[in-house]
Amino acid sequence: MCASSVIPGTTLGATRRIRTTSGAATGQLARQRPAQPVAWTEAEAIRLAQAGNAAAFEFLYQLHGRRVYALCLRMVGNPADAEDLMQEAFLQLFRKIGTFRGESAFSTWLHRMTVNVVLMRLRKKSLPTDSLEETLEPDAENSAPKRDVGAPDLRLSGAVDRVNLERSIEQLPPGYRTVFVLHDVQGYEHNEIANIMGCSVGNSKSQLHKARTRLRELLQEEIRQQAREERKAAKSPTGSLD
Protein backbone atom coordinates (compact mmCIF):
# COMPACT_ATOMS: atom_id res chain seq x y z
CA MET A 1 0.00 0.00 0.00
CA CYS A 2 1.64 3.20 -1.12
CA ALA A 3 0.68 6.67 0.06
CA SER A 4 0.20 8.96 -2.86
CA SER A 5 0.77 12.66 -2.60
CA VAL A 6 -2.02 13.31 -5.09
CA ILE A 7 -5.04 14.32 -3.07
CA PRO A 8 -8.40 13.67 -4.68
CA GLY A 9 -11.27 15.86 -3.65
CA THR A 10 -9.39 18.19 -1.35
CA THR A 11 -10.70 21.44 -0.01
CA LEU A 12 -8.82 23.03 -2.88
CA GLY A 13 -11.42 21.54 -5.12
CA ALA A 14 -9.54 19.45 -7.61
CA THR A 15 -7.55 16.27 -7.98
CA ARG A 16 -4.10 17.70 -7.80
CA ARG A 17 -1.09 18.02 -5.53
CA ILE A 18 -1.45 20.35 -2.61
CA ARG A 19 0.65 23.39 -3.35
CA THR A 20 2.03 25.86 -0.90
CA THR A 21 4.50 28.70 -1.08
CA SER A 22 7.98 27.70 -0.09
CA GLY A 23 9.59 30.28 2.21
CA ALA A 24 8.58 33.84 2.93
CA ALA A 25 10.16 36.85 1.25
CA THR A 26 12.46 37.18 4.23
CA GLY A 27 15.45 34.93 3.88
CA GLN A 28 14.20 33.56 0.59
CA LEU A 29 17.29 34.46 -1.42
CA ALA A 30 19.53 33.20 1.33
CA ARG A 31 18.01 29.74 1.14
CA GLN A 32 17.98 29.93 -2.68
CA ARG A 33 14.43 28.50 -2.85
CA PRO A 34 12.01 29.40 -5.57
CA ALA A 35 9.26 31.86 -4.81
CA GLN A 36 6.64 29.96 -6.80
CA PRO A 37 4.45 27.30 -5.10
CA VAL A 38 5.89 23.77 -4.85
CA ALA A 39 4.22 20.36 -4.63
CA TRP A 40 5.32 18.47 -1.54
CA THR A 41 6.09 14.82 -1.27
CA GLU A 42 5.01 13.04 1.88
CA ALA A 43 8.60 12.95 3.13
CA GLU A 44 8.96 16.72 2.71
CA ALA A 45 5.69 17.34 4.50
CA ILE A 46 6.75 15.12 7.39
CA ARG A 47 10.03 16.99 7.73
CA LEU A 48 8.24 20.34 7.70
CA ALA A 49 5.62 19.13 10.13
CA GLN A 50 8.38 18.05 12.49
CA ALA A 51 9.50 21.70 12.39
CA GLY A 52 6.00 22.90 13.25
CA ASN A 53 4.80 24.00 9.82
CA ALA A 54 1.01 24.35 9.89
CA ALA A 55 0.55 23.77 6.17
CA ALA A 56 2.55 20.56 6.43
CA PHE A 57 0.24 19.28 9.17
CA GLU A 58 -2.74 20.00 6.97
CA PHE A 59 -1.08 18.32 4.01
CA LEU A 60 -0.64 15.10 5.99
CA TYR A 61 -4.18 15.34 7.33
CA GLN A 62 -5.59 15.72 3.82
CA LEU A 63 -3.38 12.89 2.55
CA HIS A 64 -4.50 10.30 5.09
CA GLY A 65 -7.64 11.68 6.71
CA ARG A 66 -10.22 10.03 4.49
CA ARG A 67 -8.87 6.51 5.02
CA VAL A 68 -8.53 7.05 8.74
CA TYR A 69 -12.07 8.38 8.99
CA ALA A 70 -13.42 5.46 6.95
CA LEU A 71 -11.67 3.01 9.28
CA CYS A 72 -12.96 4.75 12.41
CA LEU A 73 -16.48 4.91 10.99
CA ARG A 74 -16.58 1.20 10.21
CA MET A 75 -15.09 0.30 13.55
CA VAL A 76 -17.54 2.21 15.71
CA GLY A 77 -20.54 2.50 13.41
CA ASN A 78 -21.54 6.10 14.14
CA PRO A 79 -20.17 9.42 12.83
CA ALA A 80 -19.96 11.19 16.20
CA ASP A 81 -17.65 8.61 17.74
CA ALA A 82 -15.73 8.27 14.48
CA GLU A 83 -14.99 12.03 14.46
CA ASP A 84 -13.73 11.95 18.04
CA LEU A 85 -11.56 8.96 17.35
CA MET A 86 -10.13 10.44 14.18
CA GLN A 87 -9.23 13.67 15.92
CA GLU A 88 -7.64 11.76 18.77
CA ALA A 89 -5.63 9.60 16.37
CA PHE A 90 -4.27 12.61 14.47
CA LEU A 91 -3.55 14.48 17.66
CA GLN A 92 -1.45 11.57 18.91
CA LEU A 93 0.24 11.38 15.54
CA PHE A 94 1.21 15.06 15.44
CA ARG A 95 2.37 15.03 19.06
CA LYS A 96 4.71 12.16 18.27
CA ILE A 97 5.69 13.12 14.74
CA GLY A 98 9.08 14.28 15.96
CA THR A 99 9.89 10.67 16.82
CA PHE A 100 9.08 9.32 13.36
CA ARG A 101 12.28 7.98 11.81
CA GLY A 102 10.91 6.40 8.64
CA GLU A 103 11.56 2.82 9.76
CA SER A 104 8.03 1.94 8.68
CA ALA A 105 5.69 3.59 6.21
CA PHE A 106 4.04 6.70 7.60
CA SER A 107 0.56 5.40 6.74
CA THR A 108 1.29 2.16 8.60
CA TRP A 109 2.37 4.16 11.64
CA LEU A 110 -0.75 6.29 11.46
CA HIS A 111 -3.08 3.33 11.06
CA ARG A 112 -1.44 1.57 13.97
CA MET A 113 -2.19 4.56 16.16
CA THR A 114 -5.73 4.72 14.82
CA VAL A 115 -6.41 1.04 15.51
CA ASN A 116 -5.02 1.38 19.03
CA VAL A 117 -7.13 4.46 19.72
CA VAL A 118 -10.26 2.73 18.43
CA LEU A 119 -9.72 -0.50 20.33
CA MET A 120 -8.94 1.36 23.54
CA ARG A 121 -12.21 3.24 23.17
CA LEU A 122 -14.14 0.03 22.52
CA ARG A 123 -12.60 -1.61 25.57
CA LYS A 124 -13.47 1.35 27.74
CA LYS A 125 -17.05 1.14 26.59
CA SER A 126 -17.03 -2.54 27.60
CA LEU A 127 -18.91 -3.63 24.55
CA PRO A 128 -19.66 -7.38 24.47
CA THR A 129 -16.85 -8.08 22.07
CA ASP A 130 -13.72 -10.18 22.02
CA SER A 131 -10.49 -8.51 23.04
CA LEU A 132 -7.85 -8.00 20.42
CA GLU A 133 -5.46 -10.39 22.17
CA GLU A 134 -8.13 -13.08 22.28
CA THR A 135 -8.99 -12.76 18.64
CA LEU A 136 -5.33 -12.87 17.67
CA GLU A 137 -4.69 -16.14 19.47
CA PRO A 138 -4.41 -19.00 16.99
CA ASP A 139 -6.82 -21.06 19.06
CA ALA A 140 -9.42 -22.02 16.50
CA GLU A 141 -11.42 -24.18 18.91
CA ASN A 142 -12.74 -21.38 21.08
CA SER A 143 -12.95 -18.31 18.91
CA ALA A 144 -13.46 -19.46 15.35
CA PRO A 145 -16.92 -19.45 13.84
CA LYS A 146 -18.09 -22.97 13.17
CA ARG A 147 -19.03 -24.17 9.76
CA ASP A 148 -21.35 -27.13 9.80
CA VAL A 149 -19.85 -29.39 7.27
CA GLY A 150 -22.50 -31.11 5.25
CA ALA A 151 -25.37 -28.83 6.31
CA PRO A 152 -27.21 -27.02 3.51
CA ASP A 153 -26.17 -23.36 3.47
CA LEU A 154 -28.14 -20.43 2.27
CA ARG A 155 -26.45 -19.14 -0.86
CA LEU A 156 -25.37 -15.53 -0.69
CA SER A 157 -24.85 -15.05 -4.37
CA GLY A 158 -26.97 -12.10 -5.49
CA ALA A 159 -28.20 -11.45 -1.95
CA VAL A 160 -25.32 -9.44 -0.53
CA ASP A 161 -25.60 -5.70 -0.90
CA ARG A 162 -23.70 -2.84 0.68
CA VAL A 163 -26.33 -2.11 3.29
CA ASN A 164 -26.57 -5.57 4.83
CA LEU A 165 -22.83 -6.08 4.47
CA GLU A 166 -22.09 -2.87 6.42
CA ARG A 167 -24.65 -3.89 9.03
CA SER A 168 -23.00 -7.29 9.36
CA ILE A 169 -19.51 -5.78 9.60
CA GLU A 170 -20.67 -3.75 12.59
CA GLN A 171 -21.55 -6.97 14.35
CA LEU A 172 -18.12 -8.52 13.96
CA PRO A 173 -15.78 -8.66 16.98
CA PRO A 174 -13.30 -5.75 16.88
CA GLY A 175 -10.30 -7.87 15.96
CA TYR A 176 -12.08 -9.58 13.07
CA ARG A 177 -13.62 -6.29 12.01
CA THR A 178 -10.27 -4.48 11.93
CA VAL A 179 -8.56 -7.09 9.80
CA PHE A 180 -11.51 -7.40 7.41
CA VAL A 181 -11.81 -3.63 6.89
CA LEU A 182 -8.07 -3.17 6.44
CA HIS A 183 -7.74 -6.05 3.96
CA ASP A 184 -10.94 -6.43 2.01
CA VAL A 185 -12.21 -2.84 2.14
CA GLN A 186 -9.08 -0.69 2.25
CA GLY A 187 -6.77 -3.06 0.40
CA TYR A 188 -3.86 -3.45 2.82
CA GLU A 189 -1.68 -6.52 2.43
CA HIS A 190 -1.17 -8.99 5.24
CA ASN A 191 2.38 -7.84 5.97
CA GLU A 192 1.09 -4.28 6.40
CA ILE A 193 -1.78 -5.45 8.58
CA ALA A 194 0.68 -7.43 10.69
CA ASN A 195 2.67 -4.20 11.26
CA ILE A 196 -0.46 -2.25 12.08
CA MET A 197 -1.91 -4.85 14.43
CA GLY A 198 1.34 -6.01 15.95
CA CYS A 199 0.78 -9.62 14.98
CA SER A 200 2.22 -12.15 12.56
CA VAL A 201 1.25 -12.52 8.90
CA GLY A 202 -0.17 -15.96 9.69
CA ASN A 203 -2.39 -14.48 12.37
CA SER A 204 -3.59 -11.81 10.00
CA LYS A 205 -4.59 -14.44 7.41
CA SER A 206 -6.29 -16.56 10.03
CA GLN A 207 -8.27 -13.65 11.44
CA LEU A 208 -9.33 -12.58 7.95
CA HIS A 209 -10.66 -16.04 7.13
CA LYS A 210 -12.54 -16.19 10.41
CA ALA A 211 -13.96 -12.72 9.78
CA ARG A 212 -15.23 -13.76 6.35
CA THR A 213 -16.74 -16.97 7.72
CA ARG A 214 -18.48 -15.07 10.53
CA LEU A 215 -19.77 -12.51 8.03
CA ARG A 216 -21.21 -15.36 5.99
CA GLU A 217 -23.14 -16.56 9.02
CA LEU A 218 -24.37 -13.06 9.82
CA LEU A 219 -25.45 -12.43 6.25
CA GLN A 220 -27.24 -15.77 6.06
CA GLU A 221 -29.06 -14.91 9.25
CA GLU A 222 -29.87 -11.49 7.83
CA ILE A 223 -31.34 -13.06 4.71
CA ARG A 224 -33.35 -15.57 6.76
CA GLN A 225 -34.66 -12.75 8.93
CA GLN A 226 -35.73 -10.78 5.86
CA ALA A 227 -37.42 -13.86 4.44
CA ARG A 228 -39.30 -14.39 7.74
CA GLU A 229 -40.45 -10.80 7.78
CA GLU A 230 -41.64 -11.03 4.21
CA ARG A 231 -43.61 -14.17 5.00
CA LYS A 232 -45.06 -12.52 8.07
CA ALA A 233 -46.08 -9.50 6.07
CA ALA A 234 -47.70 -11.75 3.49
CA LYS A 235 -49.76 -13.58 6.16
CA SER A 236 -50.97 -10.41 7.90
CA PRO A 237 -54.74 -9.58 7.87
CA THR A 238 -54.19 -6.89 5.26
CA GLY A 239 -52.32 -9.24 3.08
CA SER A 240 -54.10 -12.45 3.81
CA LEU A 241 -53.82 -15.17 1.32
CA ASP A 242 -57.44 -16.20 1.77
Binding site: A54, G65, A70, R212
Partner: protein
Protein backbone atom coordinates in the same frame (compact mmCIF):
# COMPACT_ATOMS: atom_id res chain seq x y z
CA UNK B 1 -8.80 -34.06 1.11
CA UNK B 2 -11.76 -33.57 3.48
CA UNK B 3 -13.87 -30.50 4.11
CA UNK B 4 -12.02 -29.72 7.34
CA UNK B 5 -8.71 -29.85 5.56
CA UNK B 6 -10.00 -27.48 2.90
CA UNK B 7 -11.05 -25.14 5.70
CA UNK B 8 -7.49 -25.20 7.06
CA UNK B 9 -6.07 -24.46 3.62
CA UNK B 10 -8.42 -21.51 3.18
CA UNK B 11 -7.47 -20.18 6.62
CA UNK B 12 -3.75 -20.39 5.91
CA UNK B 13 -3.69 -19.32 2.24
CA UNK B 14 -6.87 -17.38 1.60
CA UNK B 15 -9.04 -17.54 -1.50
CA UNK B 16 -6.20 -17.12 -3.94
CA UNK B 17 -4.65 -19.93 -5.91
CA UNK B 18 -5.61 -23.22 -4.27
CA UNK B 19 -3.54 -26.38 -4.39
CA UNK B 20 -4.38 -29.23 -6.71
CA UNK B 21 -5.84 -31.34 -3.87
CA UNK B 22 -8.06 -28.45 -2.77
CA UNK B 23 -9.33 -27.93 -6.30
CA UNK B 24 -10.04 -31.63 -6.68
CA UNK B 25 -12.08 -31.62 -3.46
CA UNK B 26 -14.01 -28.53 -4.55
CA UNK B 27 -14.87 -30.21 -7.83
CA UNK B 28 -16.59 -33.03 -5.93
CA UNK B 29 -18.07 -31.30 -2.84
CA UNK B 30 -21.15 -29.12 -3.35
CA UNK B 31 -21.14 -27.73 0.18
CA UNK B 32 -17.55 -26.55 -0.07
CA UNK B 33 -18.30 -25.08 -3.49
CA UNK B 34 -21.13 -23.07 -1.98
CA UNK B 35 -18.91 -22.06 0.95
CA UNK B 36 -16.11 -20.78 -1.25
CA UNK B 37 -18.60 -19.07 -3.58
CA UNK B 38 -20.15 -17.23 -0.61
CA UNK B 39 -16.77 -16.09 0.65
CA UNK B 40 -15.88 -14.78 -2.80
CA UNK B 41 -19.22 -12.99 -2.91
CA UNK B 42 -18.43 -11.29 0.40
CA UNK B 43 -14.98 -10.23 -0.82
CA UNK B 44 -16.47 -8.81 -4.03
CA UNK B 45 -19.11 -6.88 -2.09
CA UNK B 46 -16.46 -5.53 0.29
CA UNK B 47 -14.52 -4.11 -2.64
CA UNK B 48 -17.53 -1.96 -3.54
CA UNK B 49 -17.47 -0.29 -0.14
CA UNK B 50 -15.65 3.07 -0.25
CA UNK B 51 -12.14 2.80 1.16
CA UNK B 52 -12.20 6.51 1.94
CA UNK B 53 -14.89 8.71 3.44
CA UNK B 54 -14.70 12.50 3.59
CA UNK B 55 -14.59 13.67 7.19
CA UNK B 56 -16.45 16.85 8.22
CA UNK B 57 -14.42 20.06 7.96
CA UNK B 58 -14.90 20.77 11.65
CA UNK B 59 -12.48 17.96 12.51
CA UNK B 60 -9.52 19.78 10.96
CA UNK B 61 -10.62 23.12 12.42
CA UNK B 62 -10.80 21.62 15.88
CA UNK B 63 -7.57 19.68 15.38
CA UNK B 64 -5.68 22.74 14.23
CA UNK B 65 -6.89 24.75 17.20
CA UNK B 66 -5.67 21.99 19.50
CA UNK B 67 -2.28 21.89 17.76
CA UNK B 68 -1.90 25.64 18.18
CA UNK B 69 -2.95 25.47 21.82
CA UNK B 70 -0.31 22.82 22.48
CA UNK B 71 2.34 24.84 20.66
CA UNK B 72 2.93 22.17 18.04
CA UNK B 73 2.42 24.70 15.24
CA UNK B 74 5.26 27.20 15.00
CA UNK B 75 4.39 30.13 12.71
CA UNK B 76 7.28 31.99 10.97
CA UNK B 77 8.27 35.45 12.33
CA UNK B 78 6.63 38.28 10.37
CA UNK B 79 8.71 41.11 8.94
CA UNK B 80 7.76 44.64 10.00
CA UNK B 81 6.84 47.16 7.26
CA UNK B 82 9.39 49.84 8.06
CA UNK B 83 12.60 47.91 7.54
CA UNK B 84 11.26 45.21 5.28
CA UNK B 85 13.77 45.75 2.48
CA UNK B 86 16.70 46.00 4.83
CA UNK B 87 15.70 43.00 6.87
CA UNK B 88 14.98 41.04 3.72
CA UNK B 89 18.50 41.56 2.50
CA UNK B 90 19.84 41.17 6.01
CA UNK B 91 18.17 37.82 6.11
CA UNK B 92 19.84 36.99 2.84
CA UNK B 93 23.20 38.01 4.09
CA UNK B 94 23.17 36.43 7.53
CA UNK B 95 23.08 32.77 6.66
CA UNK B 96 25.78 33.04 4.02
CA UNK B 97 28.34 30.54 5.01
CA UNK B 98 31.18 32.52 3.49
CA UNK B 99 30.51 35.49 5.75
CA UNK B 100 32.64 33.86 8.44
CA UNK B 101 35.82 34.66 6.52
CA UNK B 102 34.97 38.27 5.53
CA UNK B 103 37.77 39.77 7.57
CA UNK B 104 40.39 37.76 5.74
CA UNK B 105 38.80 38.54 2.39
CA UNK B 106 38.69 42.25 3.19
CA UNK B 107 42.37 42.22 4.04
CA UNK B 108 43.08 40.52 0.72
CA UNK B 109 41.04 43.01 -1.24
CA UNK B 110 42.56 45.93 0.61
CA UNK B 111 46.01 44.64 -0.30
CA UNK B 112 44.92 44.46 -3.93
CA UNK B 113 43.62 48.00 -3.68
CA UNK B 114 46.79 49.36 -2.15
CA UNK B 115 48.91 47.55 -4.72
CA UNK B 116 46.92 48.93 -7.65
CA UNK B 117 46.63 52.45 -6.27
CA UNK B 118 49.07 54.81 -8.08
CA UNK B 119 50.58 57.96 -6.50
CA UNK B 120 47.67 60.34 -6.13
CA UNK B 121 47.18 64.07 -5.55
CA UNK B 122 44.66 65.30 -3.02
CA UNK B 123 42.28 66.32 -5.77
CA UNK B 124 40.24 63.81 -7.66
CA UNK B 125 40.66 60.67 -5.59
CA UNK B 126 37.07 60.49 -4.36
CA UNK B 127 35.72 61.09 -7.82
CA UNK B 128 37.86 58.36 -9.28
CA UNK B 129 39.57 60.86 -11.55
CA UNK B 130 42.98 60.19 -12.98
CA UNK B 131 45.51 61.43 -10.46
CA UNK B 132 48.08 63.97 -11.41
CA UNK B 133 51.55 63.65 -10.05
CA UNK B 134 52.97 66.64 -8.34
CA UNK B 135 55.57 68.37 -10.38
CA UNK B 136 57.37 69.56 -7.39
CA UNK B 137 57.16 72.83 -5.61
CA UNK B 138 55.24 75.38 -7.56
CA UNK B 139 57.36 78.03 -9.25
CA UNK B 140 56.33 81.54 -9.04
CA UNK B 141 54.23 82.81 -11.85
CA UNK B 142 53.67 79.24 -13.13
CA UNK B 143 50.39 77.58 -13.12
CA UNK B 144 51.09 74.01 -12.17
CA UNK B 145 47.64 72.59 -11.72
CA UNK B 146 46.32 69.71 -13.88
CA UNK B 147 43.53 70.29 -16.36
CA UNK B 148 41.04 68.82 -13.89
CA UNK B 149 42.10 71.23 -11.22
CA UNK B 150 39.05 73.09 -10.10
CA UNK B 151 40.78 76.50 -9.63
CA UNK B 152 44.00 76.80 -11.59
CA UNK B 153 44.18 80.56 -11.09
CA UNK B 154 44.58 80.09 -7.40
CA UNK B 155 47.84 78.23 -7.88
CA UNK B 156 49.48 81.07 -9.76
CA UNK B 157 50.85 82.71 -6.66
CA UNK B 158 53.04 80.55 -4.48
CA UNK B 159 51.53 81.98 -1.38
CA UNK B 160 48.07 81.12 -2.40
CA UNK B 161 47.09 77.55 -2.64
CA UNK B 162 43.77 75.97 -3.31
CA UNK B 163 42.03 74.87 -0.16
CA UNK B 164 42.72 71.26 0.60
CA UNK B 165 39.67 69.11 0.42
CA UNK B 166 40.16 67.00 3.46
CA UNK B 167 37.35 64.72 2.43
CA UNK B 168 39.16 63.80 -0.72
CA UNK B 169 42.48 63.47 1.06
CA UNK B 170 41.07 60.86 3.46
CA UNK B 171 38.23 58.88 1.85
CA UNK B 172 35.77 57.24 4.24
CA UNK B 173 36.16 53.52 4.98
CA UNK B 174 33.04 52.80 2.93
CA UNK B 175 34.33 54.67 -0.07
CA UNK B 176 37.71 52.96 0.21
CA UNK B 177 36.10 49.58 0.39
CA UNK B 178 33.81 50.39 -2.51
CA UNK B 179 36.70 51.48 -4.68
CA UNK B 180 38.83 48.51 -3.67
CA UNK B 181 36.09 46.11 -4.47
CA UNK B 182 35.44 47.78 -7.80
CA UNK B 183 39.08 47.40 -8.70
CA UNK B 184 39.09 43.77 -7.73
CA UNK B 185 35.96 43.23 -9.76
CA UNK B 186 37.64 44.51 -12.91
CA UNK B 187 39.23 41.13 -13.52
CA UNK B 188 36.05 39.13 -13.00
CA UNK B 189 34.43 39.44 -16.45
CA UNK B 190 37.42 37.85 -18.13
CA UNK B 191 37.85 35.01 -15.69
CA UNK B 192 36.50 31.54 -16.09
CA UNK B 193 35.39 31.01 -12.52
CA UNK B 194 34.67 27.33 -12.52
CA UNK B 195 34.62 24.36 -14.87
CA UNK B 196 30.85 24.11 -14.69
CA UNK B 197 29.30 26.99 -16.65
CA UNK B 198 26.16 26.85 -14.54
CA UNK B 199 28.22 27.47 -11.41
CA UNK B 200 30.00 30.26 -13.22
CA UNK B 201 26.69 31.86 -14.17
CA UNK B 202 25.38 31.42 -10.64
CA UNK B 203 28.41 33.16 -9.12
CA UNK B 204 28.10 36.06 -11.53
CA UNK B 205 24.39 36.33 -10.81
CA UNK B 206 25.14 36.48 -7.10
CA UNK B 207 27.64 39.26 -7.76
CA UNK B 208 25.13 41.23 -9.81
CA UNK B 209 22.54 40.86 -7.06
CA UNK B 210 25.03 42.03 -4.46
CA UNK B 211 26.08 45.02 -6.59
CA UNK B 212 22.46 46.04 -6.99
CA UNK B 213 21.99 45.88 -3.23
CA UNK B 214 25.13 47.91 -2.61
CA UNK B 215 24.01 50.59 -5.09
CA UNK B 216 20.64 50.77 -3.40
CA UNK B 217 22.22 51.08 0.04
CA UNK B 218 24.61 53.79 -1.14
CA UNK B 219 21.76 55.76 -2.68
CA UNK B 220 19.74 55.39 0.52
CA UNK B 221 22.67 56.59 2.61
CA UNK B 222 23.16 59.64 0.41
CA UNK B 223 19.56 60.58 1.11
CA UNK B 224 19.65 59.51 4.74
CA UNK B 225 23.23 59.82 5.95
CA UNK B 226 22.16 59.35 9.57
CA UNK B 227 20.65 55.90 8.97
CA UNK B 228 23.04 53.74 10.95
CA UNK B 229 21.17 50.55 10.17
CA UNK B 230 21.59 51.11 6.44
CA UNK B 231 25.25 51.88 6.99
CA UNK B 232 25.69 48.65 8.90
CA UNK B 233 24.01 46.69 6.12
CA UNK B 234 26.20 48.42 3.53
CA UNK B 235 29.35 47.52 5.39
CA UNK B 236 28.15 43.96 5.69
CA UNK B 237 27.43 43.93 1.97
CA UNK B 238 30.97 45.12 1.24
CA UNK B 239 32.29 42.30 3.35
CA UNK B 240 30.08 39.84 1.55
CA UNK B 241 31.25 41.12 -1.82
CA UNK B 242 34.87 40.86 -0.75
CA UNK B 243 34.21 37.33 0.36
CA UNK B 244 32.45 36.47 -2.88
CA UNK B 245 35.20 37.96 -5.04
CA UNK B 246 37.83 36.09 -3.08
CA UNK B 247 35.90 32.88 -3.53
CA UNK B 248 35.42 33.56 -7.25
CA UNK B 249 39.11 34.25 -7.74
CA UNK B 250 40.04 31.15 -5.79
CA UNK B 251 37.62 29.08 -7.80
CA UNK B 252 38.98 30.46 -11.06
CA UNK B 253 42.56 29.70 -10.09
CA UNK B 254 41.68 26.25 -8.95
CA UNK B 255 39.80 25.27 -12.04
CA UNK B 256 42.06 26.84 -14.65
Amino acid sequence: MHCKELESVLEAEGLGQLSKDARLHLATCGDCQAYVADLNCIVSAAKTLPAEVNPPDRIWISLRAQLEAEGLIKEPVEVSEGYSWLETLGGWLKPRALATVTVAALVLVSAVYIKRLPQTSPVGVANNQPAVASSGPAKPQVISAAPASPAPALNAHPQIQAPVKTKELAPSPSESASFALSQAELDVPNMQLAGNSQVDASLRQNLRTLNAFIAECELHLKQNPQDELAREYLNTAYQQKADLLAAMMESGRGDN
